[in-house]
């Protein structure tokens, strides 16, 4: 584990994402315009775990969509490291509709491999491995509607991991699960992050979660979204909610967020 952290520190020098003066405006069909993001400046290091907090509708999903290349910015500049390629190693766990309901769990997880033309046996083997990694053994043949909310999130994470991503974008992936499932999933994602050299950008509404997971917590303002503050969470992992340091971070972030509400 100490070896791993050293490796991570090394790769910190490489920049995964560089964003400057990024803005996004939506034009609705009724003619009104919504400024979703305004003047975002952000540099993400390789192997870094970034968590993003912000009120609903402040542009978090929009930010991830822009990074994933699913939308184009109106202004500014977004640069990805050369080793990051759309459809190859940038995985994205969506906020909604994360699995294809007409596919079994196994075939959902194997989707990316199937698209790459990998043989049926090989992708099955790989998908089974991933499913056991996220704790879904025995649900290979279940359809989406036969899975609980937490299981769907696990399956969606396995589906994303099948790409062998270097960059993993996650949009409130643990939004709809109970607290103990959430804690399980958090442990799981930290372990996966430790095992693989992945850069993660993780959107959440939960301050606790942001501090537990992130190397760095970004707080976005209300619409139009701007980065109002960032916090380097230099606490050792696994992190404990009950330490005074944790509480201090919590209070500071909470103040920043509620300052936004006034």
């Amino acid at each position: 584990m100490t070896q791993k952290t050293e490796k991570q520190k090394e790769s910190r020098y490489a920049k995964a994402i560089k964003i400057q003066k990024l803005s996004k405006v939506f034009h609705s069909e009724s003619g009104s315009t919504v400024s979703a993001l305004h003047d975002i400046n952000l540099t993400v290091n390789s192997g870094e775990f970034i968590t993003v907090l912000g009120a609903t509708g402040c542009g978090k999903t929009t930010l991830l969509n822009l990074i994933a290349g699913l939308d184009i910015p109106d202004e500014g500049y977004l640069d990805l490291n050369d080793n990051l390629k759309f459809g190859m190693n940038i995985a994205y766990v969506f906020q909604h509709y994360t699995l294809f309901p007409w596919r079994t769990t196994l075939n959902n997880v194997a989707f990316a491999l199937e698209m790459r033309g990998i043989s049926k046996q090989e992708r099955k083997l790989e998908a089974v491995k991933l499913l056991s990694k996220v704790g879904l053994e025995g649900f290979e043949n279940a359809y989406t509607h036969e899975l609980s909310g937490g299981m769907r999130q696990r399956a969606a994470i396995a589906q994303a991991l099948a790409m062998k991503p270097k960059l993993l974008l996650m949009d409130e992936p643990f939004g709809a699960v109970d607290d103990s499932t959430r804690a399980d999933l958090q442990r799981m994602i930290i372990q996966l992050w430790h095992e693989n050299q992945i850069t993660i950008i993780f959107v959440t509404h939960n301050i606790d979660e942001a501090i537990i997971l992130g190397d760095r917590v970004l707080v976005l303002s209300e619409r139009p979204g701007k980065i109002v503050n960032e916090f380097d969470v230099n606490l050792p992992r696994p992190r404990n909610h009950l330490t005074p340091e944790f509480t201090e971070f919590f209070m500071k972030i909470r103040q920043t967020l509620s300052g936004q509400l006034d």
Partner: protein, 307 residues
């Protein structure tokens, strides 16, 4: 059923990590609670109707206007009896079915293909949609005189240069097929079109981020996502085809099919045959609908509980 589902859902939320009841289990549970008294109640209504029918028919004793149940049943019990050299109940039913299946097959192939093309290429959709909206409201039967003039009474074997094949296919006129095609084509087309065009954008984006090419997105997202709508279109289309063939066979110019036999028997005051033919038409229609439902469930069971 609704309540049962809810109950299962709420339990699986609590146990989200450990236990989940697979959907199969729910179905079995449902079958175990099979309600016999309900089944019997649903038969009682039909039984009473038959008894009233039988008593009334016997009371008036005018079988050429209102035949008794037993007379109709005896016709149904002898499906191979020749009627006025127009063939039997069975042979005419088979002729009608064959016509419908051929016309429907043709309508499905063209309808699904065109629906997929129009649903995914908006340029083609813009050109064809007005034409289709213009023709769609027209009752398929209205096409019959036109079809007869165009195709005369040409049969399917004649289309392939065989004048008389001495098979049931000699009863399959191109004009009939055309009218059935028109009947089945529009529901198949419009449903397919809607299905393909209204695929959730999220699924397209998901496939894209997972590395699918446009062609792969078409095969692995558009098509399966549209499958429930396509099958709905096919089911509606087949039902309509069966309506259309009966009506078409009742028109002048027709000389076979269950609709023809019904009309011919009516002209000869053989109401027992008329009612037997009606029952057959209803039963076949119900059977076709049932089969299509089974196919649908088999292929798009996932749709039932889409999240």
């Amino acid at each position: 059923m609704k309540q049962e589902e809810k109950k299962i859902n709420s339990t699986d939320k609590k146990n989200s990590v450990t236990v989940i009841l697979p959907a199969k289990h729910c179905q079995d549970g449902h079958a175990a609670n099979f309600d016999w008294s309900k089944r019997i109640r649903s038969i009682v209504g039909i039984f009473v109707l038959l008894i009233i029918w039988q008593i009334t028919a016997q009371y008036y004793d005018q079988p050429w206007i209102f035949p008794s149940v037993t007379r109709v049943l005896s016709q149904l019990a002898h499906p191979l009896r020749e009627h006025y050299a127009s063939g039997t109940l069975l042979s005419n039913t088979l002729i009608s079915l064959l016509r419908v299946l051929l016309g429907f097959l043709f309508a499905s192939i063209v309808g699904v293909t065109l629906g997929i093309v129009m649903g995914s290429i908006s340029f083609i959709r813009d050109i064809l949609e007005p034409v289709i909206e213009l023709l769609r409201p027209l009752c398929p039967i209205a096409w019959l005189p036109f079809a007869i003039v165009i195709f005369k009474l040409k049969t399917l074997p004649q289309l392939f240069g065989i004048n008389y094949s001495h098979t049931i296919f000699d009863q399959v006129q191109i004009g009939m097929i055309f009218v059935i095609f028109v009947g089945g084509f529009f529901p198949v087309l419009t449903n397919t079109l809607d299905g393909v065009a209204s695929v959730r954008r999220n699924y397209l984006l998901l496939a894209k981020t997972l590395g699918a090419s446009p062609v792969q997105i078409f095969y692995h997202v558009h098509l399966p996502a549209a499958m429930p709508m396509i099958l709905t279109g096919l089911r509606q289309g087949l039902g309509l085809c069966w309506f259309v063939i009966i009506a078409a066979e009742m028109m002048t110019g027709s000389d076979s099919g269950i609709g023809y036999l019904l009309m011919y028997a009516a002209d000869n005051s053989a109401m027992d045959i008329v009612i037997a033919a009606m029952l057959i038409i209803g039963a076949v229609g119900a059977m076709l609908s049932f089969l299509m439902r089974r196919v649908m469930f088999r292929f798009v069971g996932w749709k039932e509980k889409e999240i």
